[in-house]
Symmetry: C2
């Protein structure tokens, strides 16, 4: 059988990552160029075209389609991108039409968090699952919902905002304007801030030596490393994170009756201890009838999840 | 055009209500018989048959189908009911098959909360909506999700458990085993308990005279009546309820990208002040991009919502 290839475009606020990906999810070619978002939409669209041209060179006849993962609200039918945060002046751009016309190749545009969920469905940890909730832990907390092998988009494609599930109605104010959102407790910045604060009373933590006493070096990777070296403080931080995530996910699992959770993003690098704590916490909080079906998986796309997720749009129907 | 009729069976723990309903949702005949749940499943199934026979008398050739709203987990394909709470010893009953065979009429079985949502879709406040979240406020807080004119069932038909959305991860323990669930704050019993407690510091409330100083008479209806008479204390109780409901719904709206809310059940009798407070609270907490689409409706089936919801299964595909 002839191998099928897709181009995946991971459109970010500072960089555009573009790759050619096989239908099994293997990247065979990859480039990264600046988005030049400050110079306006026309410039950035030019950069996307330039990048795609570069990877297509000599490969164009092999390509089944182009997939683009974009921030903002994406209208599927028209392939338009609306008000993407970090892309100034975009308002409404007919990105799908522009790119398909430029290259005469079928082009599929989707919100980047949704594309990541489709990526796990087509290539990754969700390949054999009928339904799952994808959670991406990074600077923010994002997500996507797959139900009966299809993306659940909601009325405008904005579904899956798991980070803005409230776990404490009287909690601290989130950037979104609400209070006590999951993202507030699990976003990278909060984790670092929280750990710094707690270290004042945990002077024996291995984090001090690993950061050479300079907290500017503090990162999830350092906390992970300390936990691997047996640092109880760091182990408890990771356990608490999983615990909190489980509390938030319980509400969503009860509402959706979808019990498979896939966790990705940088912060998921904490690995097994994070997933176990999430699973235990989630099991202890969901309705009894759902408990036996709860499963927590690690996302499998990891590096280049953006490119792979975008390319998967071509192989998804 | 010939009018179509359906039989709706509202299977409860103590009573079975059965009616003949037109395809516009009008009840033309109605009976209520005891479930006799204590005497086991065979007895209760016998009662269902007896009740259906009674309403069918002389009308059988007019009936398009029978719809049954049942507690518990319902498998659509097989029409089986599993572990319904309040129906002792049922375990797994092939209710759809039993009834369709008995009467040679197509029979549809669905969970009662789901049937109520379908009822609003077919006959009620959701008739012109593409998607909505149905919330039923009563002893418990239930719900159902309609997405693209279809019931969102989740993996086993248990989706829509809005009452078990956590609004305070460290809140009081709910009957479900979790903490700080919406149902804890909005269930009938909690409302009464909470109002009693607060009345100690609100001796000028009109509730005292309306209950003749006997708190055994306290009910949502009394609180409603007091608020209509201008009682500030009661008005604030209703406002607080809407506020709390909005906080819980915000999480669900953010995850589903479904912005229409339909509120039914006994406690929804508080009417406009409750809906306005819910809408304002919800709007203040959902993601900015969703705010303009938030709408809160009163359920329109009200009395006999159980019979109507069940009958609507026949007119839903």
């Amino acid at each position: 059988m002839k191998i099928k290839y897709a181009v995946g475009v991971d459109l970010g606020g500072t960089k555009i990552k573009i790759g050619i990906v096989t239908e099994k999810g293997k990247i065979v070619k990859k480039i990264s160029i600046p988005t030049l978002a400050n110079e306006g939409p026309d410039k950035s669209i030019g950069q996307i075209k330039k990048g795609i041209s570069a990877v297509l060179k000599g490969n164009k006849n092999l390509i089944s389609g182009i997939g683009i993962g974009s921030p903002g609200v994406v209208s599927l039918k028209k392939g338009t991108v609306e008000n993407p945060p970090n892309l100034i002046g975009w308002k409404k751009v007919h990105l799908g039409k522009i790119i398909s016309k430029e290259f005469s190749i079928p082009t599929f545009v989707e919100n980047d968090a949704n594309a990541a969920a489709i990526g796990e469905l087509i290539y990754g940890a969700g390949k054999d699952l009928n339904s799952f909730i994808m959670v991406t832990l990074g600077t923010g907390v994002g997500g996507g919902i797959i139900y009966n092998k299809k993306l659940f988009r909601g009325d405008t494609g904005a579904a899956g905002e798991i980070g803005h599930t409230t776990i404490d109605q009287n909690g601290p104010k989130c950037n979104c304007g609400s209070y006590g959102c999951l993202e507030f407790y699990l976003g990278n910045n909060y984790i670092i801030k929280n750990v710094k604060l707690k270290l004042e009373n945990n002077k024996d933590s291995k984090i001090f030596s690993l950061t050479e006493n300079n907290f500017k070096n503090l990162s999830p990777q350092i906390i992970h490393e300390a936990s691997l070296q047996g640092d109880e403080f760091s182990k408890n931080i990771i356990k608490d994170l999983g615990n909190t995530l489980g509390h938030g996910l319980a509400s969503i699992v009860n509402v959706l009756d979808i019990c498979n959770i896939i966790i990705g993003g940088g912060v998921s690098g904490f690995g097994r201890p994070l997933f176990n704590a999430t699973r235990d916490s989630l099991k202890s909080r969901v309705l009894t009838s759902l408990q036996p079906r709860i499963k927590v998986f690690q996302a499998s796309l990891k590096n280049n999840a953006g490119i792979k997720g975008a390319s998967s749009l071509v192989f998804y129907d």
